[in-house]
């Protein structure tokens, strides 16, 4: 009790001394970055929870790629349930000559059975609850679609042979994903219009759904009855499993962002360790004196622990507020993906922040503090008496235990934990070694520079270890930001440049066999010869080497998932030039024997199959068993239709099939495509350029969000700098007093300080630019198989940003050394 009272009495004085403030700021940043993400995931989680009961727009939903039996609806109604139906599929919508890929959702009266549609009378107008669905001939369009088409309420949108008047802006429908939305915007229309749209033909990619709602027991009974019927290719979904799938997707996204925030956490930990080492060192004399006046070891420790605890609690509170505010920014960046209003977060996200603060203090501050208890009181008479340094095992053990705990909390995955800790250790060591080398190289320069620079460079060299830590702390944050901005653009531009100018820029899917001729003629008239139509069949894998897939051991979850769903396959007599056989042999063009299949190498690995194995397929009731005779590598950058599995040709024509093709359409010939779509409304055109743009938009947003998280990293780097400066401030004051006594002006001393930190910043910038270049080159090779050119901008930006940020903030922090009058400093000694 006495210790606590004494500690609290002295806290204000300790705060004035500064180390505890640095400690607190480091904790605030760590807590802020962790809680910002916790708040975001909590809010999305709550949105999911709130919507969980309406996420299906029903209590029970049936979904299938083929039309569902109509008698089910009648059956449900007779059991006292409400029933409705819907279908959705991708298509192309036009306003005049502007077109956009769209997710068409056709709904019948009664939709949604659970939850409500929210719409607005115009773009940006107030949201209202809609009691009804669009009338035939009308449609509700969501804002992204209207924006892409340059349309508004009242305009006419063409899809297939339909001309629909947009009557409302669709703001929210219950069965949209509440977290991150899909790519294509939505157009909601009435199922009554579908028949005359000409959009749905044999082989169209339609998802049919039937919706049911009613008293829970009735719904359960009906669901049980449906499950007993074992309807082929029909998924039965109830709100419980739909909600949990969403939650786990959001959990994954949250963990990914937490991983990004770990870097700031590690830097904050470094700052905490530095500040607390300094705090303990500065308290050695006080501890010795207190012991002389009768304080026990426990009392000294108690005082320190109370200080740390108070700092931890206050920092958690401030950090939580900061995180709360930062979450606003993060959700604004992700606004396009986060549909609808997010509910306010609860208090739970504050918990990881608080735990972070306490764990950081326990792992990185406590070991220095424990040493304080061992201060010999004899130090009051003999100043060279110091407590033994804390044991290496205690210091590093505590730090690693703390780090491990925090990483595990963030990723909840042991393998990832080992990888991250190992990676951090290795990266830290490499960077630290690089920092030391740079620092020692720099110090060799000092014979050739003016007095201020010599003084500055001497300081960098003298505090070699600390300088290297600062270079690493700053370099790391800067490197990630360079990667996410400049290198990312270089990579995308580099990849874009590898795609030939005449590479296909349009994909046509859903071409019916009887449309092939007329489309080919249309294209030939436009001068586009040799357009190749590739057949596509949809089917399921029902056997591997004669075994049911359930009995097969898959090396990866991805392999199992492939089996669970319908896949697209093709057949061909010849090998497309964009494919390369890497094992086995592709069949001869005139091959007429038993079915063979050629499999993509990666897919074969995921499924655990190889040459000589057999795969059994089911194509709408037709079964085919084929032997794997070759494995291929596919060059996806060719933008040609390609398939993971290609079958040998004989006998395949009989299967229900559609065709796809890709072609290059010059910009001024878009009209030809438009005419084609008007004549063949069920054909979907995918603009590759637009798709790339869309993907780029997603990458932009994702990296902006990650960059946002990395701003915390830069801030943590700054705190490391401040902690390091603070631990040298006494020494700096003394030197400055000496220099000024010998006639140096304040200006010379300030110039020296500026030189020191600019040099450090320059090194950090060099570290960052090197790291970004190396990682960029590795990523380019691994992801895109290309060499990216050296980018001088990266170096200029890296060096300047480092020099200016570190130079300015370091000088500001160390300025007081030059400002304190020498007489005051000398008197203090």
């Amino acid at each position: 009790m006495r210790g606590i009272r004494f500690a609290l009495n002295g806290l204000a004085r300790e705060l004035r001394a500064g180390e505890l403030v640095v400690l607190m700021v480091a904790l605030v940043i760590a807590v802020g970055s962790i809680t910002a993400i916790s708040f975001l995931t909590d809010r999305i989680g709550r949105a999911v929870e709130r919507q969980a009961t309406e996420v299906l727009a029903a209590d029970l939903r049936l979904r299938s790629g083929r039309p569902l039996p109509a008698d089910l609806m009648a059956q449900a109604r007779s059991s006292g349930l409400q029933a409705s139906e819907a279908m959705n599929f991708p298509s192309v919508a036009f306003v005049g000559e502007t077109r956009a890929l769209v997710n068409l959702k056709a709904v019948a009266s009664g939709y949604p059975l659970r939850g409500q549609l929210r719409t607005a009378a115009r773009l940006f107008a107030d949201t209202e609850i809609s009691q009804s669905i669009p009338e035939p001939g009308e449609a509700f369009a969501d804002a992204p679609l209207l924006a892409r088409l340059g349309a508004d309420v009242g305009d006419i949108i063409e899809v297939g042979q339909l001309q629909l008047t947009v009557t409302r802006v669709l703001v929210y429908r219950p069965d949209q994903s509440p977290g991150f939305s899909g790519l294509a915007p939505t157009l909601l229309l009435n199922t009554a219009d579908i028949e005359r749209s000409g959009l749905i033909v044999e082989g169209s990619r339609v998802s049919y759904t039937q919706l049911f709602a009613g008293a829970p027991s009735d719904v359960d009974d009906f669901a049980d009855a449906l499950r007993e019927q074992e309807l082929e290719g029909v998924r039965i979904e109830d709100s419980a499993n739909a909600g949990s799938q969403l939650s786990s997707a959001i959990d994954r996204a949250g963990r990914f962002l937490s991983l990004a925030s770990l870097v700031s956490l590690i830097l904050a930990a470094v700052a905490v360790a530095m500040a607390s080492r300094r705090y303990a060192e500065r308290r050695l004399d006080t501890a010795a004196l207190m012991k002389t006046f009768g304080a026990e070891q426990r009392f000294i420790l108690q005082v320190g622990v109370v200080h740390l605890l108070v700092v931890g609690i206050v920092a958690s509170a401030i950090g939580t507020l900061l995180g709360f505010a930062a979450e606003r920014g993060l959700s604004a960046i992700l606004a396009g993906w986060l549909r609808g209003e997010l509910p306010m977060p609860g208090w739970q996200p504050a918990l990881p922040g608080f735990v972070t603060a306490i764990v950081l203090l326990g792992g990185f501050a406590l070991p220095s503090l424990l040493r304080l208890g061992d201060t010999p009181p004899l130090r009051v008479l003999r100043h060279d008496m110091s407590p033994p340094p804390p044991g290496i095992w205690l210091t590093y053990g505590a730090a690693f235990a703390a780090l491990g705990l925090l990483v595990w909390w963030a990723v909840r995955d042991t393998t990832l934990l080992v990888v991250i800790i190992g990676g951090t250790l290795l990266t830290g060591l490499v960077l630290f070694a690089a920092g030391r080398v740079l620092v020692s190289l720099l110090s060799r320069l000092r014979g050739n520079v003016g007095v201020s620079w010599r003084y500055g460079l001497a300081n960098v060299a003298r505090r070699g270890g600390d300088s290297a830590i600062q270079v690493v702390a700053f370099g790391l944050g800067l490197m990630v930001l360079l990667l996410l901005t400049l290198v990312r653009n270089d990579l995308l531009a580099g990849w874009r440049a590898t795609i030939g100018d005449d590479a296909p820029n349009q994909f046509l899917i859903n071409i019916q066999p009887d449309e092939r001729e007329s489309i080919a003629t249309l294209f030939a008239d436009a001068g586009w010869q040799d357009v190749e139509f590739v057949p596509l069949v949809r089917g399921r894998i029902t056997a591997i080497n004669g075994m049911l897939p359930d009995a097969w051991t898959f090396p990866s979850g991805e392999g199992r998932r492939r089996i669970g769903r319908e896949i697209n396959l093709s057949w061909s007599a010849t090998l497309d030039p964009s494919n390369e056989v890497i094992a086995g042999e592709f069949w001869a063009p005139d091959y007429a024997g038993a079915p063979q299949v050629s499999v993509d190498r990666e897919v074969a690995e995921e499924m655990g199959v190889t040459l000589g194995d057999t795969l059994g397929f089911n194509f709408a009731g037709e079964t085919v068993t084929a032997t794997i005779t070759s494995l291929r590598e596919i060059d996806w950058d060719s933008f040609k239709p390609n398939f993971f599995m290609v079958l040998s040709a004989p006998g395949m024509d009989a299967l229900p099939q559609t065709y796809i093709t890709s072609l290059y359409v010059p910009e001024d010939q878009g009209q030809v495509l438009l005419n084609m779509v008007r004549q063949h409304p069920s054909v979907s055109v995918i603009d590759i350029e637009a798709a790339i743009e869309q993907v780029r938009g997603i990458i932009d947003k994702a990296s902006l969000a990650v960059q946002y998280v990395f701003v915390f990293t830069l801030a943590a780097g700054l705190v490391v700098l401040f902690a390091a400066i603070q631990s040298t401030l006494d020494e700096r004051r003394y030197e400055s007093a000496m220099l000024r006594t010998f006639g140096a002006t304040r200006r010379t001393i300030l110039a020296g300080i500026l030189a020191e930190f600019s040099a450090l910043g320059l090194l950090a910038g060099a570290c960052a630019a090197t790291g970004a270049t190396v990682i960029g080159a590795i990523a380019a090779r691994q992801l895109f198989d290309l060499e990216i050119a050296f980018n001088p901008v990266l170096w200029v930006v890296g060096l300047f940003a480092g020099m200016i940020m570190v130079g300015v903030s370091g000088t500001l922090a160390a300025r007081s050394a030059a400002d304190t009058p020498p007489v005051q400093t000398l008197r203090r000694l």
């Binding site: 002295g10 004085r13 300790e14 001394a17 004399d285 006046f293 304080a295």
Partner: protein
């Protein structure tokens, strides 16, 4: 265990009549690169309550080592120290600290004020450590006694050398110690200031009825004490009363 020793020792005090300091056969040997080095050899003496003692001798004679051993800041190689009736033998670091709390005051040559604390807060420190409820008031009153009321809120860096030592003296007497140890208390001060500090030290010592053990080079200062212990080469060479 240490707790038991301390409580036992406290019981001895209650019986009264114990001398302020009893030192028997005190020896301190340290190992160095050149082999064992005896800094203090077989020193014995007793100091009564209220007595003033000067420990004199040339530099390196072992005066500071003796002071450290008497206050329990260090442990002897052999011999024993009984402080205010409590034996320091066998006590660990914390046990000795408990004995010092409220019983021992210190004045150092280089003042040893805590730079982050104001003058008043420095004086409050031993009172707070001893669990004194009215630490602030008690500290104010003793600051008044040393004539530093106008300097209560000043930090050590804002005080002159003489003022710093007066704060240190106030701090030493604040918890009303039975024994006050002073290590060259005027060593860092000019003659005039030094004399005023001496006067203050002796005056407070009288008023508080404490035993004063003072290490000094200064023969005039030593002459003001009732007893003079001369140390040379680690041995007590004379014990004379003035």
């Amino acid at each position: 265990m240490t707790e038991a020793i301390a409580i036992d020792s406290v019981a001895q005090v209650a019986e009264g009549a114990a001398p302020a300091l009893r030192v028997e056969g005190l020896t301190k040997t340290v190992s160095s690169a050149d082999g064992d080095l005896t800094i203090l050899r077989d020193v014995s003496f007793t100091a009564e309550r209220g007595e003033t003692l000067a420990v004199v001798g040339p530099s390196g004679a072992g005066k500071s080592t003796l002071l450290a051993l008497l206050a329990g800041l260090d442990t002897p190689t052999s011999g024993s120290v009984t402080l205010d009736g409590v034996s320091l033998d066998g006590l660990d670091e914390d046990g000795r600290a408990r004995v010092r709390a409220g019983r021992v005051g210190f004045v150092f040559q280089s003042f040893h004020l805590i730079p982050a604390l104001t003058a008043l807060e420095n004086v409050m420190m031993p009172l707070e450590l001893a669990g004194e409820a009215n630490a602030r008031e008690a500290a104010r009153s003793i600051m008044d006694e040393v004539g530093l009321t106008p300097r209560l809120r000043h930090y050590p860096a804002q005080l002159s050398g003489g003022e710093k030592q007066r704060v240190a003296i106030a701090r030493a007497f604040a918890a009303r110690p039975a024994v006050l140890f002073a290590d060259e208390p005027t060593g860092n001060l000019d003659r005039g200031t030094g004399e005023r500090i001496e006067a203050l030290l002796f005056q407070l010592n009288r008023e508080h009825d404490a035993t004063l053990v003072m290490v000094t080079h200064d023969e005039t200062l030593a002459a003001r004490c009732q007893r003079r212990l001369a140390i040379d080469g680690g041995e007590l060479v004379s014990d004379s009363r003035g």
